[in-house]
């Protein structure tokens, strides 16, 4: 773990600007994926509207910077707070009225689309054309002439999100979110305040995602409602944890290390061959493969493989029985601890 961190810290010294960009996207999407994971992965409340939080965070800090010259470093937190407010509204409506599964997903999609349409029609926010940030190279304005600084900011965001997820995973809130994901009624019978826990999770998730919006705006230098609030961005956010393993600490990170380079490579490779758009087909095929073969994601699968490795030599129990029967039998009881 520490070794991996040291490698990532040293890496920019050896990377070209293109690879640096790839890594920045890996970290950034891992960050957004981890923020989504807090609600969708650990708590099982699937949001397909997380782009709305990115958009709100991005527009808030950019608007404040352009109009009041407020540093995006401060605007970042204000944008996060604005996104958290929207999260609270969505959470209150969705969870108070008991929307579960598909109905909650639809609610988040609807809110994302409402935000996109509203911003498209507000002239102060640039309407459908969006906002363009002029480059000044001023670090206080979240602008760096050297890409390596973006690399470290993105890495920092990812590490912060992992720290928060690790803390939650070990806390009562993490246990409660998992219980709600597994069986909400049973969790309530055991004293879990499902409404309050889910609301806290969506507010935190929205806050972190909104903070990410500032990075999004200042790395891309432009904001359009269709991209910053659009469903495609929401899908990008949710794919990382799902591919990597939702509800796990490493899932969103691993998912981002798999998907972001793949998207990048297939995009450049196929576009060069005059086949622009084919990368989406490749991407889609990969997703289908993941859902079919690793329904719980790559990380839980790999973890299972590594756990089984040392015992490879031992014969499997119940070899003479068909697999279904073997599984239905209870495992032989291990000796109890004294």
């Amino acid at each position: 773990m520490l070794l991996a961190l040291l490698v990532l810290l040293a890496l920019p010294q050896f990377l070209g600007s293109y690879l640096l960009t790839v890594f920045i996207f890996i970290f950034f999407y891992a960050y957004l994926g981890q923020a989504w994971n807090l609600l969708g992965g650990y708590g099982g409340q699937i949001s397909l509207g997380h782009a709305a939080f990115v958009g709100i965070g991005a527009y808030t800090s950019t608007y404040l910077a352009m109009t009041y010259q407020l540093s995006p470093w401060i605007g970042m937190l204000i944008g996060g707070a604005a996104a958290a407010c929207l999260g609270a509204v969505i959470g209150y409506l969705g969870f108070r009225f008991g929307l579960r599964g598909f109905y909650f997903i639809l609610l988040t999609v609807a809110f994302g689309e409402i935000c996109r349409l509203v911003v498209s029609h507000v002239d102060a926010l640039g309407g459908a054309l969006g906002l363009f940030i002029t480059f000044s190279g001023d670090p206080w304005q979240f602008q760096f002439s050297d890409n390596r600084y973006y690399y470290y900011v993105a890495l920092g965001l990812m590490l912060i999100s992992m720290g928060i997820a690790a803390l939650i995973e070990r806390s009562r809130m993490g246990a409660y979110l998992a219980a709600i994901r597994e069986d909400e009624d049973a969790s309530e019978a055991l004293g879990v305040n499902a409404f309050g826990t889910k609301l806290a999770a969506i507010v935190l998730s929205a806050f972190l995602t909104g903070v990410g919006g500032t990075f999004y705006a200042n790395y891309l230098f432009s904001l359009q409602p269709n991209t910053a609030f659009g469903i495609p961005l929401s899908v990008e956010i949710i794919l990382r944890p799902i591919v990597g393993g939702s509800g796990t600490l490493m899932g969103p990170v691993l998912g981002s290390f798999i998907l972001s380079p793949l998207a990048e490579v297939s995009r450049t490779y196929f576009a060069r061959g005059g086949l622009s758009g084919v990368h989406l087909i490749v991407y889609g095929s990969l997703l289908i493969a993941v859902v079919l073969f690793f329904p719980r994601g790559a990380y839980p699968y790999l973890r299972g493989v590594f756990r089984r490795l040392p015992r490879r030599g031992a014969p499997p129990p119940f070899r003479h029985l068909p697999p279904g029967v073997a599984r239905a039998k209870p495992a032989p009881e291990r000796p109890r601890d004294p």
Binding site: R172, Y176, E182, E188, A189, L190, F195
Partner: protein, 244 residues
């Protein structure tokens, strides 16, 4: 002051009067068996007591406090915990993690909750399965897990909904002993049970429901010989042949 005081409780689902004008009272430390034919309204009564359903009318008081309008998690924190007839383990969480969720009702510390969960698992004899995903347990083990999770919330009154259904005679015997031990520690119990020998053995008093109404109440011996109870279970023609 009685532990649980139910007055004129009613609940209707469309055309079905599931619970009708039910009044019950439980004393501290008591084991009350709630029996009756299928569809008599026993599980509905449990759901009303534990806050999963809101009554149409009537009052439920627990340790002098009205439970009507409270959410299930609030009722659990007051000391009333239910189990489910169809066991509902968190299948992808380990047995220990399942029980820890219950233990978190009394502490915010993960260490304390885990220690409490281990203690409860030891009590119900599941400690060897602590790290197994709950979805891989046998039915008998799941029933004990359901009990363990509820116990971990440190209830004053435990509502057990058919924890013996589907178990073998030997397994039933073990769970009867377990329940007796829980009661001996001062936890009051309200049991829904179809295994008559067990419920007659365990209960201090028995209440009989039929078509949502309380038709008899008394000691196990009184209830077993009540013609109205025999009629409800076996039909009218056997009611006269009950032994003295």
């Amino acid at each position: 002051m009685s532990l649980l005081e139910v007055r004129a409780l009613s609940k209707r689902f469309g055309g079905l009067q599931a619970v009708s004008d039910l009044s019950l009272s439980m004393a501290e430390g008591e084991v009350l068996g709630l029996i009756g034919p299928n569809g008599a309204g026993k599980t509905t009564a449990f759901s009303l007591f534990s806050g999963f359903l809101a009554p149409d009318s009537g009052e439920i008081e627990f340790r002098g406090r009205s439970l009507v309008g409270l959410r299930p998690h609030q009722i659990c924190h007051l000391g009333l915990t239910r189990t489910f007839q169809i066991v509902r383990p968190f299948p992808h969480l380990s047995v220990l993690e399942n029980v820890r969720v219950g233990a978190f009702a009394r502490t915010a510390s993960s260490q304390t909750a885990a220690a409490r969960a281990r203690q409860v698992l030891h009590e119900v004899g599941l400690e060897a399965k602590a790290d197994v995903p709950a979805g891989e347990l046998t039915l008998a083990e799941r029933k004990r897990l359901e009990l363990a999770r509820a116990l971990a919330t440190e209830p004053v009154l435990l509502l057990l909904d058919e924890v013996m259904a589907g178990l073998s005679a030997a397994e039933t015997e073990r769970i009867v002993e377990l329940i007796r031990g829980i009661n001996a520690r001062g936890v009051s119990l309200l049991l829904i049970e179809h295994v008559m020998r067990a419920v007659m053995n365990l209960s201090h008093r028995i209440a009989v429901l039929n078509y949502g109404q309380l038709i008899a109440e008394g000691t196990p011996a009184q209830v077993a010989n009540d013609p109205r109870v025999i009629e409800a279970y076996l039909g009218e023609e056997y009611a006269g042949t009950a032994p003295g």
